[in-house]
């Protein structure tokens, strides 16, 4: 059975929903139409106003993946993670350390430090990062359970801008590689899965669709198609035509 393994936990779905848009309709659509089993959740939103609490819209069988959104350095990430633990969040946590309020790009150096701190504190950290092989290796060695590179700036819907770098991570890092931001179309999610990504995280692409439910369904199918194709194995890509009658046949 082909299942996604994150820190020892197994999932049937390889579509992960980001919850940054805080939209109940979106969450419902992703669970019902895209078969999401994991939804990320900023710890800073966990203990909030009761009548709009995001957790109210998420069924119990869905895994909440808390993140350290709001952290600007490793020590803040640790502090937020520990706060999440006190609030009842699980130990598996997505590290987000962002010092750039303009483009919301992750700080790889501080993220690496945060992984070291959190792993030694008993957490199972998943690393949101700029795709960089050298840093990803260090993150793996520091105890990351998955590497989560961004395909393009968050919310941009620009797709696999970092495709080549992500492919290198897939080829070289022995951890699940999960594309975490920038996917704008189902075809891009499919391509990421064909490349060998373990899963894709999507939020804005579905949130900003005209028909949210249809788009959620389209992503489910795309992720599944991409994964099936990856597992099936691709034929060779050739630059020249291969004649059915060999050109060298005359040599006898």
């Amino acid at each position: 059975m082909d299942r996604l393994n994150l820190g020892g936990r197994l999932f049937d779905s390889r579509f992960i929903m980001g919850s940054g848009k805080f939209d109940p309709e979106l969450i419902t659509a992703c669970i019902e139409e895209a078969d999401a089993q994991i939804i990320t959740l900023a710890i800073r939103r966990v203990n909030k106003d009761s009548d709009i609490s995001i957790t109210k819209f998420i069924p119990k069988n869905i895994t909440l993946l808390p993140n350290t959104s709001g952290a600007r350095d490793a020590s803040e990430a640790l502090r937020i993670a520990r706060l999440g633990r006190e609030l009842g969040c699980e130990d598996m946590i997505k590290i987000e350390v962002i010092k750039d309020s303009k483009f919301l790009l992750p700080d790889n150096y501080q993220t690496l430090k945060a992984i070291e701190l959190l792993a030694s504190d008993g957490f199972i950290p998943l690393a949101y990062m700029m795709p960089d092989l050298v840093v990803a290796r260090d993150m793996a060695n520091a105890g990351a359970a998955a590497i989560m590179p961004l395909a393009a700036p968050i919310g941009s819907n620009k797709g696999l801008s970092n495709k080549d770098m992500i492919q290198i991570l897939i080829d070289e890092i022995d951890l699940p590689i999960i594309v975490d931001a920038g996917i704008g179309r189902p075809s891009q999610a499919c391509e990421a899965m064909e490349m060998g990504c373990a899963a894709v995280m999507v939020n804005t692409a579905i949130a900003t669709a005209t028909d949210i439910r249809s788009m959620a369904r389209a992503f489910k199918n795309a992720v599944k198609a991409g994964r099936d194709a990856y597992l099936a194995g691709f034929g060779r890509v050739l630059n020249t035509a291969q004649a059915s009658s060999p050109l060298t046949g005359f040599l006898g």
């Binding site: 805080f22 800073r44 709009i52 952290a71 600007r72 502090r79 309020s101």
Partner: protein, 390 residues
Amino acid sequence: MKFIQKTDPMEYLPSQERIDSDIMLKVLNAHKNVNFDEFNAFDVQKALDKDNLNLRDLQALLSPVAANFLEEMVAKSKAIKERYFGKNIYLFTPQYIANHCDNNCVYCGFKVGNDIKRAQLDENDIIKELKNIAKTGLKEILILTGESQTKTPLNYIANACKLAKEYFDIVGVEIYPLNSDEYAILHDNGVDFVTVFQETYNPIKYGKIHLYGNKRVFPYRFNAQERALIGGMRGVAFAALLGIDDWRKDAMATALHASLIQSKYPHAEISISVPRLRPIINNNKINPKDVTERALLQVIAAYRLFLPYANITLSSRESAYFRDNAMALGITKVSAGVSVGIGEHGGKDDKDKGDGQFEISDNRDVNQMKTAIKNAGLTPVMSDYIYTGI
């Protein structure tokens, strides 16, 4: 301390910290040299087609000719807002804890000499108000005073903020500008966001309308956001009071100021408000004048396109009708349950201790605002934040 009118508004007072920054020079140069009449439809269309706008694009979007593209601007503003903030609308309320002021600013209800009822909440009053506000479900509060270092010194404000932090996730201040070490004291007391309105970025007009008081010093006020960030704050808010001077120039300078701070301090969370002049007690002539709602929407859209990730706040200065319709079009934050008088959150017995700074237009309470937000197809959010104290 009083100043005669001829004091140079560009000169610092001895107690005021100077920082090494060229941002003011850049903003004032742009303010001085911009000519909005030189832009044409092509310039506006070009700006509308871009993802990352430069100063010239911003100016094009604020130009008179851009008014013909308002529908297109607003459509893009709405899309960008949804892309980066989803349907979220954050709610907060201001708490005025004092209305004493040492300044004479011709357009302001708090100015020295204006015959209004003055008041200052003591610790018990403040706690009583905080509890009442917290009961509404709000998680973000903005502590405000008039600008009086003598009546409301730093330790008084810091204590109020410390009290507020016990009831609220997010505490911001909108008070007189401070030195960076003073901002650090507020940060240690739970404050992470600082709002300073420059009022107008035209230094000549600024000098004419700020007759005396510390507020007369233009550069000290201008650099307040930078000092706040140096003092450890997470975010800073900017605004010109639209209608005081040329609104196009002031809006352009506000957005440029914010973007230059963003570039210099990438971690800073940037927020912009879009206040228009409101009538004040004893002066009904003060009004937004040429800043129509159409113009205000143009400013909001231009801000959103130029600074896609910035928060944009629309206050209860504006009508419920305008707020309800504009909320989805680029705004991220609105006030609710607003009382601008001193002590008005304290309950019936405490009403009307001190008069407000200006008249508000939208009197809806928190539940009404939440309903309005939901009716607009948006999601009310009380807090999206953790104070790390670092």
